[in-house]
């Protein structure tokens, strides 16, 4: 992959609003943002109800994903362009989701909704109509999704990249600072994980930094390109963005997103936890 294959600019989107086969999809942390105004022609995915199983703490399965996209009028051969608020947090999560289920042509709007708004480009509240489609998903791709047992086994052996804010990593906050401080039973981070906040990937306007800047960012923390990598955050959306950077922009191999992330790990019994600003040791001692 490369920047050209996985990103589009706001101008490209504006130029392709009426292009057949291009489907704009907005996915926001604030699930009401779309309803207040969105890019013309864009459809909405709600990450809480459309992309999460409403009973199990897990994704919708293959059949549910197929039904979702079929109902929204998305076809297998469409170019899907995702964008959203918070510098594409949940748009990146949806991007990873589309890759997980094998969609061929999916891209992110560089800078997401923020870049679009800061450019003062047009938003509308007019809802698009799309004919139903017949979408066929692939089985989940296990090469890009990490589960808790392999995360525990990765301590001290793989690149573990914790992309939360420094205060969440250190255990001073349990959740992003704009959200109520709840969720995991314990604060802290996985020993030996390094802290590369997702925000360091982005410029102030939400667009991604250059490949050179991104490469330097991960070199600075001793990222070992000879090792497999697992990215995590609190619930897997910010780490989707880091997964996107490492895999799609920098072309790193064997990178997985741990969607269980700290809400799962920080509630496990008997796993090692490190507190403070340092990664900590593989034996889980010395915090």
């Amino acid at each position: 992959m490369s920047r050209e294959n996985s990103l589009v600019t706001a101008q490209w989107v504006e130029d392709n609003l009426d292009t057949d086969g291009v489907v704009l999809i907005e996915v926001d942390e604030d699930t009401t943002a779309y309803d207040k105004g969105h890019i013309r022609g864009a459809i909405k995915l709600d990450w809480t109800t459309d992309l999460q199983d409403q009973v199990r703490r897990d994704f919708v399965n293959k059949e549910q994903f197929e039904a979702l996209l079929s109902g929204r009028g998305v076809s297998n051969d469409d170019t899907v362009v995702l964008y959203g608020g918070n510098n594409n947090w949940f748009a990146a999560y949806a991007y990873w989701y589309f890759k997980l289920y094998g969609h061929e042509d999916v891209k992110l709007l560089d800078g997401g909704r923020k870049k679009w708004e800061l450019d003062s480009r047009e938003l509308t509240d007019e809802l698009p109509t799309r004919a139903k489609a017949s979408y066929t998903a692939q089985e989940q791709d296990p090469s890009i999704r990490a589960f808790r047992d392999e995360v525990v086994a990765a301590i001290g052996t793989q690149n573990l990249v914790d992309v939360r804010s420094p205060d969440e990593y250190a255990g001073r906050l349990l959740a992003p600072a704009h959200l109520p401080q709840e969720q995991a039973q314990r604060a802290g981070h996985i020993p030996t994980s390094v802290n590369v906040p997702w925000s360091k990937n982005a410029n102030d306007d939400g667009t991604f930094k250059s490949d050179e800047e991104l490469t330097a960012l991960y070199d600075e923390v001793g990222f070992d390109t000879g090792k497999d990598t697992i990215a995590l955050c609190r619930i897997g959306e910010r780490s989707s963005l880091t997964w996107f950077v490492l895999t799609e922009l920098l072309g790193r191999k064997n990178v997985k997103n741990y969607d269980g992330s700290w809400t799962e790990y920080g509630s496990l019994v008997g796993v090692p936890v490190a507190l403070g600003d340092e990664p900590g040791s593989a034996d889980g001692k010395g915090n």
Partner: protein
């Protein structure tokens, strides 16, 4: 965002006793609320911690940790504005941000 009320956002449903709330309103020309501005929360080292868009009434809210923070406000056709604020568990820090071209 929650519904606004005079003097700030409603705190209905918020357990203020266990949170360190920073909230406020972004205004242009003194009293014009700025919707869809972006308010960024920077920690004591200047590191990005969180960012939220303002509501239709220009309001925003963070549930931060105790200590000193900086709010960096980005709005269309306006200069970025930095505002220092101190948060403490059990209290609400109300902030008004004025942006200018």
């Amino acid at each position: 965002m929650c519904g606004a009320k005079e003097g700030g956002l409603s705190l209905d449903g918020v357990n203020v006793a266990k949170e360190a709330v920073i909230q406020g309103q972004v205004l242009r020309s003194g009293d014009e609320p700025v919707a869809n501005a972006y308010v960024r929360l920077l920690d004591r080292t200047g590191e990005f911690t969180a960012e939220v868009p303002t509501s239709a009434t220009g309001h925003f809210r963070f549930f931060a940790g105790d200590g000193e923070w900086t709010l960096r406000t980005l709005a269309p056709k306006a200069q970025p504005v930095d505002t220092r604020v101190v948060a403490a568990t059990g209290s609400v820090a109300e902030v008004q941000v004025l942006v200018t071209a």
